[in-house]
Symmetry: C2
Subunit: 340 residues, 2 copies
């Protein structure tokens, strides 16, 4: 770990690049602006040593997730501000934590690779954004590593606690209803619009782009429903709705009513309301970070009371996964993002 280094060098943030600022200047900046951990964090040895150390909450299960974001693969500096990149790096990990049920994210470990000529302004904004997004969720920046790299590389490991049993992806039973939060396809459409490098943007295009650049983890919603209803299985839609459905129906089946999949007005406008086009975004577009979960049918009314915005898109069965368009079977094949 690198933030561990205890240097008291006062850095000048007037340095224009990360090379001028230097490693210790950067570490000093990171440490100086780190909020104190709250009492529930149980921190024994904070950022600034070879390891971060904490006393575990004995009644909770710990949950850990990790994601890596690389420039020109996951984001481009000409499309996203440092603030947006930092925010997204934390939100996507909080989303993984949220999908485990009744949780509290606690500690973040951030490794950062940066080219030597990275403007100090960019790094400052990135870290301020990482920290303010951490603060929003009560997460303590607990450690990390800073290194030179050709492309900006952000690796986040996020640790939290789950007050109840973590909700796995595999618990759905025959007859369970499949629910989702939010709308689908916007993030993917937003990315497509960005990639066109258009000079002027319509309002609905700006909103689709925003959904791509600044996703919001559904932590509050996940906590609310899992504190009050038995969620039989849950995941987030980070790799698209189609994938999420595959994950929740492993070794089982489902009927999905495509017309029930919630869509934004912006996406409908963007696709000129073309059914096939809409669903290529809504099913296969990734980076959406909505909750996809199942409940027993008897809990439907309870769910609607606690989370009126949730939408039922189908039912688990013992067969295979079938997509229906107004009652008729529709042939749907995976057509999503390939990492390699």
């Amino acid at each position: 770990m690198f933030f561990k280094l205890k240097y008291s060098i006062i850095s000048s943030m007037k340095a224009k690049t990360i090379k001028e600022l230097g490693e210790f200047g950067l570490i000093d900046f990171i440490k100086k602006h780190n909020t104190k951990p709250k009492s529930y964090h149980n921190v024994y040895l904070d950022i600034g040593d070879d390891c971060f150390s904490f006393n575990p909450h004995t009644k909770s299960k710990y949950i850990v997730t990790t994601d890596i974001l690389i420039e020109n693969v996951h984001f481009k500096r000409q499309w996203a501000t440092a603030k947006q990149i930092g925010q997204k790096a934390i939100e996507v990990n909080v989303s993984d934590i949220a999908s485990m049920g009744n949780t509290k994210p606690l500690y973040a470990f951030i490794s950062l690779g940066m080219p030597k000529n990275t403007p100090t302004k960019f790094i400052k904004e990135l870290f301020n954004s990482i920290k303010s997004t951490c603060n929003k969720y009560g997460v303590h920046l607990s450690g990390g590593d800073t290194v030179g790299a050709k492309d900006i590389t952000i690796s986040v490991t996020l640790m939290g606690i789950c007050y109840d049993k973590p909700i796995s992806r595999t618990g759905a039973k025959n007859g369970d209803l499949i629910f989702v939060t939010g709308t689908f396809g916007d993030s993917c459409a937003g990315l497509e619009i960005l990639s066109k490098d258009k000079k002027s943007l319509k309002n609905y295009e700006k909103e689709l782009i925003k959904k791509h650049l600044v996703p919001q983890a559904r932590l509050k919603e996940a906590n609310l429903i899992s504190q009050n209803i038995k969620i039989t299985s849950m995941t987030d839609s980070s790799d698209g709705l189609f994938k999420s459905i595959e994950l929740l129906t492993e070794n089982k089946g489902a009927v999905i009513n495509m017309e029930n999949i919630p869509l934004s007005k912006n996406l409908i406008k963007y696709t000129n309301n073309n059914f096939d086009k809409i669903y290529s975004y809504a099913l296969f577009g990734g980076e959406e970070f909505e909750l996809v979960f199942t409940i027993n049918k008897k809990d439907e009314n309870k769910l609607k009371k606690f989370l009126p915005g949730a939408t039922c898109i189908g039912t688990i069965n013992n067969g295979k996964v079938t997509y229906l368009q107004n009652g008729k079977t529709k042939n749907v094949k995976y057509n999503g993002y390939k990492h390699f």
Copy 2:
């Protein structure tokens, strides 16, 4: 997290590149060869979901460290085999855990970025090496992420437990003796030899290179001494001995007897026994991963009994850090590696 994906696709390791193998083929490979966690791991939800989950050991403190290794910054594929790279990625993190005292590393989270044309053979060897090094220490590969990238990028977060109070860097007292394990400067000399791309290598050069490519964490030694002696402060020498001494003497001083710093015969040969040259490697060369620690003078004999190979290089005082060459003050200024 990505290893979380539960795909049963049987991958053909005959695919020549990571692009041919595909993301799911890779995940399948990683999951298939992952050892089952041992009972002491307390795993509640293993690799294969949105998060990894464990029941904490209630009597232990948890310790976490993270490091990121990037191709052409931390390693070059023409200099190091996949096996060596994987091994080093784990050893450097175990070294951070070890420096906390009486510890047991438990869970590793590995994020991997790879170019599309990366040979499958390389990735297979890298993961096999990561896993066998994890196995050596009883570490369970618990999660990760795999993404496309321009350069091979390996981010490791390692979590463990500390049975006693973690040993920080700041506990040394006036009069404490400074001890080290191993020898210093070899890794740095090894890197220098590699960078010359020589056609034939002498035996001592090969050995210096080995110290650079395949460092060994001092976990056994750290456990042995901290179980039996009060270690007042400890760190590993990952950024060089000079830095380690700075870290242990923050707000205090020390007298360092340079001629006591342990050196290998290989380094002496490589530097033609030139004093200044030797100490530029031994003090400022990083990536050494030896233990640098302090004890009360009264524990000296006890230490020598448990760890006869440890060497006393100086004494903590209330002044400033002074380097002596055969009793005479030597002006030593930091001249180490700059990350940016």
